[in-house]
């Protein structure tokens, strides 16, 4: 704004005049103009009053002391805080500051903050993992509770070297020698035998077992069975003897601890013929292609010789089904124990043939029995009661490892080991995300959220 009568007097000159930054001539000019021109006088007065107002502004209070510490001077990196991000600056300051006492508000405030911290993805992931955890755990428990107690179990394990399963099998040749019976007898241990049976324990038990099974033809003498010395794994000697001396059609009570009776009809026990036998169910051939390991000429029934140095040095697996045991397992020469299950022999059981928990657990306890899998099959339990018509042949296992093959009649209801793995996985996942959330809640102040 300039004065019309004194165009040379500008606001800049008036401002300089206020600060005594003008020459004497300029000062005289301005003083004369102010007297003559009220407008110019008002301009000068208003500017002066504005300056006075600024002079009278009170001094700002310091928010804090800016005295420098040795740490700041030595290693304090000069930061460039951004005005646009004061919240981030304060968050960084809060993180650098030592953690003080817990915030007031109690448990529920802390719990709410715990779940509100972090980004949305982490919270959703944690919730999802918890949901999986609950579904798997509850669902698994429900499924297991619905399983029949005498469910049929089929177990095939990976090859477990030199560790015979605590299973006793006898091969009872038939009178004609062309027939053989592979009698599968799981250990008479309790069904709740622990799954933590160690390898050492298995070897120890193995040494206690002497079971001699001869793979012979018809002229071979009956198999001699030495009962287990272990109290809870002892196969009753009388039962074994009775079994060994029984004829093909005889039913031998292997009651032991299971109360199951075994019927060994000659036609059903005919090695290598079961899969093709008319009595077998049609579907059996699909699921259980006949691949007999033992040739019929070799007694048609695989029988392992116990204590034979020429026998297999590796115990493959113990395969127990409701109807058929497969895989021939022998013991090492140093151990006169073996588990012999004829690979081509079918044994029909008139009652439920239960491969009880000991077998399962012993397999599960083996580190190399990674593929051990259990199949519970309620229908099998019923089918097992049927006579030999339901005899099922289980395929011979591969030499490099056992495989499991569900029976035709079996319906896979559940897999406890898989459930257990899922349970563990869900637990680990939930723990992981909860840990991340907890870490975030600890490292972030609520004031900065």
């Amino acid at each position: 704004m300039t004065s019309s009568r004194y165009p040379q007097i500008t606001d800049e000159l008036l401002s300089a005049y206020i600060d005594n930054q003008v020459t004497d001539d300029e000062k005289a000019l301005i003083e004369a103009a102010v007297i003559e021109d009220p407008m110019l006088a008002w301009q000068l007065e208003s500017l002066r009053y504005t300056v006075d107002l600024l002079h009278t502004l009170p001094q700002l209070a310091l928010p804090r002391s800016f005295v420098l510490s040795d740490a700041q001077l030595l290693d304090g990196a000069v930061s460039m805080p951004a005005l646009a991000e004061p919240a981030r600056m304060r968050a960084a300051t809060a993180r650098r500051a030592p953690r003080s006492a817990p915030e007031p508000g109690g448990f529920w405030v802390g719990w709410r903050n715990f779940w509100q911290v972090g980004n949305l993805f982490l919270r959703n992931a944690a919730a999802a993992s918890l949901a999986i955890f609950l579904v798997v755990s509850v669902g698994g428990a429900v499924l297991q509770s619905q399983l029949p107690t005498s469910a049929q179990v089929a177990i095939v394990s990976e090859a477990s070297e030199s560790v015979p399963q605590p299973t006793i099998a006898t091969a009872a040749p038939t009178a004609s020698g062309a027939q053989a019976v592979a009698l599968v007898q799981t250990t008479t241990t309790q069904a709740t035998s622990n799954a933590e049976t160690s390898r050492e324990e298995a070897v120890t038990l193995e040494k206690q077992v002497e079971l001699q099974v001869s793979a012979v033809d018809g002229s071979a003498p009956p198999t001699e069975v030495t009962p287990l010395s272990s109290a809870n794994r002892t196969l009753p000697a009388d039962s074994v003897q009775a079994l060994a001396q029984a004829g093909p059609a005889a039913a031998t009570d292997l009651a032991g601890g299971q109360g199951g009776s075994v019927t060994m009809p000659s036609d059903a026990a005919r090695g290598g013929e079961l899969a093709d036998s008319p009595g077998s169910q049609p579907g059996n051939q699909d699921l259980a292609p006949p691949e007999p390991r033992a040739q019929p000429s070799q007694a048609a029934i695989a029988a392992a010789s116990v204590g034979s140095a020429d026998s297999f040095s590796t115990a493959r697996s113990a395969v127990v089904t409701n109807l058929v045991a497969t895989e021939s397992v022998t013991a090492a020469d140093t151990i006169s124990t073996t588990v012999v299950i004829s690979s081509s022999t079918a044994v029909s059981l008139t009652e439920s043939s239960i491969v009880s928990a000991p077998v399962m657990s012993s397999l599960a306890s083996e580190t190399d029995a990674v593929s051990a899998t259990l199949f519970y099959s309620a229908p099998i339990a019923e089918a097992a009661i049927q006579p030999t018509s339901n005899a099922t042949a289980v395929p011979t296992n591969e030499s490099n490892g056992a495989r499991y093959q569900p029976s035709v009649d079996s319906n896979v209801v559940s897999n406890p080991l898989s459930l257990l793995r899922n349970f563990q996985f869900a637990s680990a996942l939930a723990a992981l995300f909860l840990g991340v959330l907890w870490w975030r809640s600890r490292s972030t102040s609520p004031a900065t959220r």
């Binding site: 704004m1 500008t10 606001d11 800049e12 008036l14 401002s15 300089a16 600060d19 930054q21 009220p38 407008m39 008002w42 301009q43 007065e45 208003s46 500017l47 009053y49 504005t50 300056v51 107002l53 600024l54 002079h55 502004l57 009170p58 001094q59 700002l60 209070a61 310091l62 928010p63 804090r64 002391s65 800016f66 005295v67 420098l68 510490s69 040795d70 700041q72 001077l73 304090g76 000069v78 930061s79 460039m80 805080p81 951004a82 005005l83 646009a84 991000e85 004061p86 919240a87 600056m89 304060r90």
Partner: protein, 196 residues
């Protein structure tokens, strides 16, 4: 301990000597930083950073006015922060304009309640007027009219020619006056616009 002695000891590595200078100038530094940045947190950070810079750059101090040298560091630091702010161009809830009934930092307890209320209202209005000014004008105006720097000092601090300093101060005062006139009821009658 005078200023030169403190500077000499600080140059020898005595932190306490430099902190003596900090205690002497921290109010001035914070006030300048606040006037430039118009943000308390940012001003505090700028001042802290400026003192650290000054301590490290102290060997390059060639004498003269330590006050002007330190103020220049503060102003340059504030300008750097303003440039960062403009580059990011993000809004923050803390940066939203707030209608201040009064500014606690500017409270003067020597006045009566009514005069205090009027004064606080006027001071708030002045602060808003300063905030409405461009940063360069606000800086020179604060240095000149609030902190009493001479034109030569302002030119030294800002690195501007004397003529530029004069013109900026004049424009800043004129704009602030015009801003204050938007609420003439807060001003004395002599301050009212000339109608003659």
């Amino acid at each position: 301990m005078d200023e030169q002695t403190a500077i000499s000891r600080a140059l020898q590595g005595e932190t306490n000597a430099f902190n003596h200078l900090v205690l002497t100038y921290q109010n001035l530094a914070y006030s300048v930083a606040y006037r430039v940045l118009q943000n308390e947190n940012a001003a505090a950070d700028a001042v802290q950073e400026s003192f650290i810079k000054a301590y490290r750059a102290l060997p390059s101090f060639s004498g003269g006015s330590f006050k002007s040298w330190l103020t220049r560091i503060v102003v340059n630091t504030c300008y750097d922060m303003l440039r960062v702010q403009q580059r990011r161009a993000t809004d923050s809830l803390d940066e939203l304009p707030v209608e201040h009934e009064y500014i606690p930092a500017l409270v003067d307890h020597t006045e009566g309640p009514e005069a205090h209320a009027e004064r606080m209202e006027l001071n708030g209005w002045i602060e808003q007027g300063l905030r409405a000014l461009p940063a360069d004008q606000r800086t020179v105006l604060a240095l000149c009219d609030i902190h009493g720097y001479a034109y030569e000092e302002i030119a030294e601090v800002t690195g501007l020619p004397m003529g530029t300093v004069k013109s900026r101060i004049s424009r800043a005062r004129t704009r602030l006056r015009d801003y204050l006139l938007q609420k003439p009821e807060l001003l004395p009658s002599t301050f009212r616009p000339y109608n003659g």
